[in-house]
């Protein structure tokens, strides 16, 4: 019988820091929701999916405010990942919905 011991090649992981996640909102009433389009060329039906989500949210929460994706940088190339958090925060968004590239 031959026995060998080999390394697991997957490296080690260091993650799972739930405190990094933002606290969720108690409700969406009166809140401002931003839309971020992370797809190139405005594709993946972003011009249909976001308006539908907008409509559904407004039906549910009459005083909700939506900042449409056209107001923010878009696409993998257009979004400066180092600054997007600051841009969204400066816009006054309470929450963000992103799609549809990935």
């Amino acid at each position: 019988m031959i026995k060998i011991e080999v390394y697991d090649p997957s490296g080690f992981s260091e993650s799972m820091e739930p405190s990094y996640y933002a606290p969720r909102l108690p409700d969406l009433k009166g809140k401002t929701i931003g839309e971020i389009s992370n797809g190139e060329h405005g594709g993946w039906e972003i011009d249909r999916t976001f308006p539908l989500i907008r409509q559904l949210l407004k039906k549910r929460f009459s005083n909700i405010k939506i900042i449409p994706y056209t107001e923010f940088p878009s696409g993998v190339k257009g979004i400066d990942v180092d600054n997007i958090g600051d841009i969204v925060a400066a816009s006054g968004c309470d929450a963000v919905i992103g799609g549809n590239a990935g």
């Binding site: 490296g11 992981s13 993650s15 799972m16 933002a22 999916t49 989500i53």
Partner: protein, 467 residues
């Protein structure tokens, strides 16, 4: 989205089927958990005129994602891989079981791997003076951590030797440079792969191919394939670039087994032609790695330089191929972006030089003649839409679009042996905004390692035969 979460703003991701893992890996790489506020929708929903009912039906998920959602795991977890024990009745059965186990765990690539035992890894680690637990960074998209030791493990799996480790370490350091754009390279739907070009004495010392068949395979010069395959396994096993989850490359391809790792044929450059690393600001005697990424290769036929007429026909053929498949070049265009690598063997560049062509003049000619006519680019609406804002800073309305901001950004690398007849075009693939070069650090025992390699592989005999 992870960056927005870190600003204290809750997010929810609309995810296409197949991208759920990639999105999760992206969050994990930012130090959050794999459990991500997202909903995966069928791919058909993202096609023109699609049925959006799934979106309508999931509106509660979206609302809950912003209000009630909680990550599934609490507390910080550091997961260190353990060793895997493999048993068999004989050597062949043990190795077969090892390979089967690795494939079951998605740690292999389908080609046979060798056992990365403690002894083998320790031997490969003699190729560096750095402690084995030095952290090089998190390989995207999974964001697991690469150390010097984990690089040695991958190199052991691909049949590597200690003298290959310095190039792999330098390469991974560049790969993790944020300017290199490894997240895009790793996850894109483009079938892109890293290209590693080595300059300096180390190329010949470790038998990295710069001549015939320099892109591999070559039993007399196995280093490039072995180092490149180790890099690929790092991308896959540590970075999580598994087809259909971590990497969405639609086709993959043979170059993604070993990537492309080769040396420039520095002895083949004519007088006055600088090697790549010297052009990029390094001393011509330093050991330098230059990392780039390619998605397409084209063989340029009938490439010769015997007369001025033939030479111009050859350069025009190169230029037409370069301009004909501009792909993502304009979307990632900037002052330093390079559209690709022109590979020419000695036989062509020696002829060019003897007819009075400097490297700069060849670059200028290719740059000018590979411009994409405005009417062509204008009619290509998707590429035009992506590039027009960027190219505004470089060309006037109505002008042809150049593949690079200036001629010097077209990389010309001499490799492929002494003949003429064919050249090669390695076209840019999404990822790096610019090629990046770095110095390769050699260990103090370098001479000893080379002596051992000479004894193991009779490398002196191979080197004597080379021009």
């Amino acid at each position: 989205m992870a960056r927005i979460e870190k600003k204290g703003i809750p997010t929810f991701s609309i995810t296409r089927k197949g991208f759920k893992s990639a999105v999760s890996f992206g969050f994990q790489a930012m130090g959050l958990g794999l459990d991500v506020p997202q909903h995966e929708y069928p791919l058909e929903m993202f096609l023109p005129g699609s049925d959006l009912t799934p979106l309508e039906q999931s509106i509660d998920d979206i609302i809950n994602g912003l209000t009630k959602w909680k990550p599934g795991t609490e507390g910080r977890i550091r997961c260190v891989p353990t060793k895997v024990a493999i048993e068999g009745n004989d050597y062949l059965e043990t190795i077969t079981r090892l390979n089967n186990t690795f494939l079951k765990n998605k740690w292999g690539d389908g080609l046979p791997i060798l056992p990365a035992t403690e002894g083998q890894v320790r031997w490969i680690l003699t190729g560096t003076d750095s402690p084995k637990d030095i952290i090089l960074g998190k390989i995207p998209p999974a964001g697991r951590v690469a150390t010097i030791e984990s690089l040695a493990v991958s190199l052991a799996m691909t049949g590597g030797r200690p003298e290959y480790l310095p190039i792999l370490v330098a390469t991974v350091k560049v790969f993790l440079n944020p300017l290199f754009g490894a997240v895009t390279l790793q996850t894109t739907t483009s079938s892109v792969y890293p290209v590693v070009i080595v300059n300096g004495p180390i190329g010949r010392q470790i038998r990295l191919n710069s001549g015939y068949g320099c892109l591999g395979p070559d039993p007399a010069h196995p280093a490039g394939a072995i180092i490149g395959r180790a890099l690929r396994l790092i991308q896959q096993n540590i970075g999580g670039a598994i087809p259909g989850s971590g990497t969405m490359a639609i086709y993959g391809g043979p170059a993604r087994f070993t990537n492309i790792v080769f040396a420039e044929d520095e002895r083949g450059l004519p007088a006055g032609w600088e090697i790549l690393s010297a052009e990029r600001g390094f001393s011509s005697v330093d050991n330098i790695v230059t990392l780039y990424s390619a998605a397409t290769t084209s063989n340029v036929n009938a490439a010769r330089s015997s007369t001025e007429k033939v030479l111009l026909e050859t350069l025009n053929r190169f230029a037409r191929i370069m301009a004909g498949n501009y792909g993502n070049i304009f979307g990632d265009f900037n002052d330093n972006s390079a559209p690709g690598i022109v590979l020419m063997p000695r036989g062509i560049v020696q002829g060019l030089a003897s007819l009075g062509w400097s490297k700069e003049r060849v670059k200028a000619y290719l740059w000018e003649n590979s411009k994409v006519p405005y009417e062509v680019i204008k009619s290509d609406s998707v590429v035009f839409a992506t590039g027009q804002e960027i190219l505004k800073s470089y060309v006037k309305e109505g002008e042809a679009w150049p593949l690079a901001s200036e001629p010097k950004n077209i990389m010309i690398v001499v490799a492929g042996g002494e003949q003429s007849g064919h050249g090669y075009w390695l076209r840019y693939g999404p990822g790096p905004k610019t090629p990046i070069s770095a110095e390769i650090q050699l260990p103090k025992n370098w001479a000893t390692l080379l002596k051992e390699a000479e004894e193991d592989l009779d490398t002196a005999q191979i080197n004597r035969k080379e021009p």
